[in-house]
């Protein structure tokens, strides 16, 4: 196997992985606060991606359509939080998880009714073709996707580290009751985190749609499983772990294709994750989380 071929494959893997990373970050944000596996996250993303497609189809300028679709994602995430999670926030941890699954199913069914079952083509917004870097042809689209994804992850990290919202989020994350007693508006912060998660998730979903040329109902479930795997690999509840986990999952899938064949892609990727978790149950970059009673 030669260097240009492996480089091309590595860029493919990183591009796919960076999309997983963006989706996983939104997912990890919610988990880090509420220890809730947000099974509806993928379906929120799917609805946002369809919204983008519809808005672009209605001849909205592309940047406006994408921003509006991300806003739709934030609104849907807010609604899911209000309807499906808040009423059961303090119940046993299994309850919100089931409620999340239910919310995801409802969103998928509604999307099926509105947009139909067909996979729909997504307009090509990124120029195609190859760029030559040090004599190696690299797919331009993959590089742009990679760059955009990293920018989104950095923006999310800025939100979390440098803003009042980020600080408040960390307080809620550490102790929800103490945060409330210290005057942090928990019922504002939690929905905001959901909204930001939905917003970023849809941004990732649109990248996903642009890279694969398609939007479809099942992309919700796909995004959830990939994001979950990435978040587990990186360390559940760890923001940077989720981002790195996403990149690594993309590269692992690519390696599986190169070595044993594409039919075993998901199998090999999951074996790698299981192996990592056996050796480091907290994930590659996670801290051991002490179970709260």
């Amino acid at each position: 196997m030669d260097v240009p071929y492996l480089t091309e494959q590595l860029v493919n893997g990183l591009a796919t992985g960076s999309i997983y990373a963006v989706i996983a970050v939104g997912y990890a944000m919610v988990y880090s606060i509420l220890y809730l596996i947000n099974f509806a996250h993928g379906d929120v993303i799917m609805v946002g991606a369809f919204a983008a497609l519809t808005l672009i189809g209605m001849a909205f300028p592309v940047p406006a359509a994408i921003l509006a679709a991300c806003a739709v994602g934030a609104l849907v995430a807010l609604a899911v939080e209000r309807i499906a999670y808040r009423p059961v926030r303090y119940a046993n941890r299994v309850v919100p998880m089931i409620s999340a699954l239910g919310a995801g199913l409802v969103l998928a069914t509604l999307a099926h009714l509105v947009w139909g079952p067909e996979v729909q083509p997504f307009p090509q917004l990124i120029p195609r073709g190859n760029i030559e870097i040090a004599g190696i042809a690299v797919p331009q689209q993959a590089l742009i996707i990679l760059g955009l994804s990293l920018a989104i992850v950095m923006f999310a990290s800025f939100l979390l580290e440098r803003t009042r919202l980020g600080r408040a989020t960390k307080c809620v994350c550490q102790d929800i009751y103490a945060a409330q007693l210290m005057g942090i508006p928990v019922n504002l912060i939690i929905p905001l985190v959901y909204a930001v998660g939905g917003f970023l998730g849809v941004a990732g979903g649109i990248l996903f749609a642009m890279y694969f040329n398609a939007v479809f109902i099942q992309m919700g479930l796909l995004a959830t499983t990939k994001a979950w795997a990435a978040a587990m690999l990186g360390g559940v509840g760890n923001f940077y772990g989720a981002a790195l986990g996403g990149l690594m999952l993309g590269v692992a899938e690519m390696l599986a294709v190169v070595t044993v064949g594409s039919a075993y892609k998901d199998g090999v990727a999951l074996v790698i994750i299981v192996a990592v978790l056996l050796l480091r149950p907290q994930g590659l970059f996670g801290r051991r989380v002490v179970e709260r009673s």
Partner: protein, 385 residues
């Protein structure tokens, strides 16, 4: 989630309306339509339902089958074999169905058939091409599409003999349909002295990223891509090939013959060759009539599932009006020669269609075009004992 949903198709008015009073007194003839109505393959079910709607409307407008209105009940298997078996059990519990029309994909049909066989329920199938289905000795089964092994030989022969390609890159959906095509294609390549330069499976309805396969094929010197999958993944694959700036001919089965293939490929399907079990652009009145009606009613082209489903109802009308009953339905169909929207059909004892050849369709200027070409079969003799 595994509970199969039973839906009553369209409105009752559409399905049974213009029957005569005498007919209503005799009660309707029920057919069970089984396929994926929700889930990742729901588009196939949608086509089956649309073919059904047009056929049932036409038949009931003309007084039904032998004076009895035709009524269809829809069962959803979500293209999941486990659900298909559950659907089969539900249908088997009910003896009012003349027959089952289904299932859509080969894996679901294979899962459901043992149950129908045991209960002796006739199964008339539109689109499951896996060769093993008619090799099991089931006497209650007949299908309209051409067997996959014959298909795989034809697609390979077209790529090698007609297009002069030597390095096949085989892409296949990792299910009963795609795997069977892939295995027969590897055999056919050997008989044709071609090389399998690329061999890549993917999980249907899950994998949408083919960039790694495309890079692999390009590096391996693949000079023709053999797409053994549905139009969804086929279209995405062709589109991603184009995104990657890689252009070699594409050859595939009629599961690609649907306008979504063109839409999803976003130009990448240009020049693709499709070997179709029926020719939708044939200058036959029955075909033209169906294509026009479908286009007018649904504002899209029918897929193969829609055409064959539509033909099955007319086939049923023909044999039942000639005296067939549930007990001898399959036997009577096998003895029939039938001309429908999808061409002429006749069957052998196993229930496979015989004397049908593939129509070679080419994508030109973003449209499917009938070429009138035929496959050069040189070298395939070795595969036929």
């Amino acid at each position: 989630m595994s509970i199969p949903r039973r839906l009553i198709l369209a409105s009752p008015a559409v399905l049974a309306a213009p029957a005569t009073i005498r007919a209503q007194a005799r009660g309707p003839i029920f057919v069970a339509l089984a396929g994926p109505m929700t889930g990742g393959s729901a588009a196939f079910g949608l086509n089956a339902q649309r073919g059904t709607e047009l056929a049932v409307q036409a038949i009931n407008r003309e007084g039904g089958i032998g004076g009895q209105p035709l009524q269809v009940e829809v069962f959803d298997d979500r293209s999941v074999p486990r659900d298909a078996a559950a659907v089969a059990q539900r249908i088997a519990r009910n003896d009012r169905f003349l027959c089952v029309l289904g299932h859509v994909d080969s894996s679901s049909t294979l899962a459901a058939m043992p149950i129908y066989a045991e209960e002796r329920i006739p199964v008339v199938n539109a689109s499951s091409s896996n060769p093993t289905i008619t090799e099991q000795g089931w006497t209650n089964f007949v299908r309209l599409t051409i067997r996959g092994d014959y298909g795989a030989q034809q697609y390979s022969a077209y790529a090698v003999n007609n297009l002069g390609r030597r390095n096949l890159g085989i892409v296949f959906a990792n299910n009963d349909f795609g795997r069977a095509l892939r295995n027969d294609m590897v055999r056919a390549a050997q008989a044709l002295s071609a090389r399998v330069a690329g061999d890549a499976g993917f999980t249907p309805n899950v994998d949408r990223d083919f960039s790694a396969i495309i890079s692999q094929f390009r590096a391996a010197g693949v000079d023709v891509v053999m797409l053994n999958c549905s139009y969804t993944e086929g279209g995405l694959f062709a589109g991603q090939m184009r995104s990657a700036g890689w252009s070699v001919p594409i050859v595939g089965p009629d599961t690609l013959l649907y306008d979504q293939f063109l839409a999803l490929s976003q130009g990448g399907a240009e020049g693709a060759w499709i070997m179709a079990a029926y020719d939708p652009y044939a200058e036959r009145p029955a075909t033209r009539g169906f294509m026009d009606t479908f286009q007018t009613r649904f504002n899209t082209l029918p897929s193969q599932v829609a055409v064959f489903t539509f033909d099955i109802y007319h086939l049923l009308k023909r044999v039942v009006e000639a005296g067939a009953t549930r007990a001898n339905l399959i036997e009577r169909i096998k003895a029939t020669r039938f001309e429908g929207a999808g061409g002429n059909y006749s069957w052998n004892a196993r229930g496979d269609v015989v004397n049908r050849t593939f129509a070679v369709i080419n994508v030109r200027d973003g449209r499917f075009t009938s070429t009138g070409l035929s496959v050069n079969e040189n070298g395939l003799e070795r595969l036929r004992g």
